[in-house]
Amino acid sequence: MTAYAIDVRGLSKSFGDKKVVDGLDLRVERGAIYGFLGPNGSGKTTTIRMLCGLLTADAGEGTCLGLDVRRDSNVIKSQVGYMTQKFTWWEDLTIEENLRFAARMHGLANARSVVDAALERLGLAQRRRQLAGELSGGWKQRLALAACLLHQPRLLLLDEPTAGVDPKARREFWAEIHALAREGLTVLVSTHYMDEAERCHRLAYIAFGKLLAEGTPQQILDQVGLCTFAIDGAPAVAVDEISRLPGVEQVVPFGLRLHVSGVDAATLSTSVAGYTHRHQLSWQPVDSSLEDAFIALMRGGKP
């Protein structure tokens, strides 16, 4: 038994001529909540599918829960809970029928009581006979999570689980994820939301199938080394002018503020100081956000 729930090296996958995942190394400690970030089409879903045996890797090797990713995909499937990006439970089956199907497919001996318990926990006991297709986005997500937890997996793979879900449901969802991690479950979750990224123990940022940064949120910020200044009261038209100044890589409006970032701190501060002096505006250094860091990574990561 290794200390890692996921330990893969050199994972690669191509569809036709397109290299979707390119020599990816990934290590996820047991019991960790590991955030998986990257722009659309960066290979997140493909990587997750390779980890749970839905796709076979073209190259690379490694283990998932100590099992060989390429050879033992069937055993891996029975110990992994995979929540797909789209809702992929059967909309023409009821909530209860979906859960019972999942329980029986995993060969659970006490399928009925497991399903009943899951329905109680979900608060769906009253609506068990409702078709899954009639549920709202938030409830669908809860059903999907409950269904892939029935067989008590040791690793949870969540592919953009909170897309299209309201903030309250998202918060509850993350509370549950943390509760599960405390019980020892390892969670790999892909997301586009920065607030969710900040809730992860560690992050990996991939673009164009390659790993660009890895570590705790703070480590990633340090690694990118972005320096950010906030300029107060700048007019919206100033964005264009500021972004042409030397050392400026990003200008992002936040309400009445502009966040100006760049990796070259000295040049950036000279530019910002000069501009604010000319227009008699106030400015101050602020912490760079993860979002700023990722956008900087994405720009740098272009092949």
Binding site: R49, G53, V75, K86, W89, M105
Partner: protein
């Protein structure tokens, strides 16, 4: 994980049955299609058409002429709808499609007949659809002779074209009355099974793929065989319901006799059902969505209809078309069904058409299983 699990198969089966029950339209189609097609085709398709519109240009009016016309009317094949004054006018009627036959009785027909000069009767046919007029044409010759023979008697008896010289007897075996329904209705059983089974199984997996639920299914620790059997077995039952409906309707509505062994028929039907399911399964592994599965179904269905001997006489087709026809399960099943129902075929008679079904299934399943992967690559 054990190689094959009955529990998982049962789980898939239960899911499929629930989904089938909820999909009212499809369910109604599976029961409705056989009845609808049977009534439509059984009553509508008739390769022995009668009451064909006929025009007669009679240049004279004699007892012979009247006799001939009444005999034609009585035969049911001909409805005399026009008596144009000239042959040119009659030809216009044919050209416009108003009549199918144009009979011309020449002037002095009776006189020439009595004199033994063998007068000519001209029959013009709209032969654009040869099947439509074939039987009527065949009936016309004897009809003319017989109707005249009854008039040529007494002193004219020597004119009779020696009826004893050739004694032509046409015996229609298995279907003495030449009822098209005897041919069409058993054939419809094969056609209906081909269409519904291939389409339903093709759609069943393509639907999962289209909705994304296939990914979920594959993420579970399930064997391909369990998915395949779970998907197919419900349709075997559906198919037998259809067979039951068709046989009962064929017997009650069309009085098609069931002369051979019903059990042998049901057994051979299983081979045919499985052959079609394997095609559906193969298509579903190739199709990316339901639309494609549908298109492939028709790609297979049309040659089955046209080259199997259901629509057109198998022996009438050129060699290459017959060769293609021999590859289709429907061709063999049609022979089996007609053989058992109408000719009292036994197992030994049926075997030459049964083994091609089994061989077909084996080949298609081998391809399908190779294509049916557990992954999404």
């Amino acid at each position: 994980m054990n190689p094959f699990s009955w529990r998982r198969l049962l789980a898939v089966l239960a899911k499929e049955f629930i989904q089938m029950r909820r999909d009212r339209l499809t369910f109604a189609m599976m029961v409705g299609i056989p009845i609808m097609q049977l009534c439509l085709f059984g009553y509508a398709i008739n390769t022995d058409p009668k009451h064909l519109p006929t025009a007669i240009v009679a240049a004279e009016s004699s007892e012979f002429t009247r006799r001939l016309i009444s005999a034609m009317t009585l035969s049911d094949y001909f409805d005399i709808v026009a008596t144009p004054a000239s042959i040119d006018h009659g030809r216009e009627l044919i050209a416009r499609g108003d009549v199918q036959f144009l009979l011309r009785i020449p002037p002095d027909f009776a006189r020439d007949l009595v004199r033994g000069e063998r007068p000519a009767l001209l029959v013009e046919i709209d032969a654009t659809d040869p099947v439509a007029s074939g039987n009527a044409m065949a009936a016309l010759g004897p009809l003319v002779e017989q109707s005249l023979a009854s008039e040529i008697k007494g002193p004219l008896a020597h004119l009779n074209p020696k009826p004893g010289s050739i004694d032509l007897r046409i015996q229609r075996r298995y279907n003495p009355e030449g009822l098209t329904a005897y041919n069409i209705v058993p054939g419809l059983m094969g056609v209906i099974l081909t269409m519904t089974l291939i389409m339903m199984t093709g759609l069943a997996i393509a639907r999962e793929r289209e909705r994304g639920t296939f990914e979920n299914l594959l993420a579970m620790p399930v064997r391909p065989l369990e998915i395949m059997l779970g998907k197919l077995v419900p349709y075997i039952l559906v198919a037998y319901v259809q067979v039951g409906v068709i046989l009962v309707a064929a017997h009650l509505l069309f009085a098609v006799p069931i002369l051979g062994s019903l059990w042998l028929l049901l057994g051979c039907t299983l081979a045919f059902i499985v052959a079609n399911l394997s095609v559906g399964l193969l298509f579903s592994t190739l199709a990316k969505n339901q639309m494609q599965a549908m298109q492939m179904t028709f790609f297979f269905f049309l040659p089955s209809m046209l080259l199997s001997g259901f629509m057109f006489p198998f022996r009438g087709m050129p060699g290459w078309a017959q060769a293609i026809g021999e590859l289709l399960p429907l061709t063999h099943f049609l022979r089996i069904v007609r053989g058992i129902l109408l000719k009292v075929n036994g197992p030994a008679d049926v075997w030459p058409n049964l083994w091609p079904l089994l061989a077909f299934t084996l080949v298609v399943v081998a391809f399908g299983a190779k294509r049916f992967r557990k992954t999404l690559d």
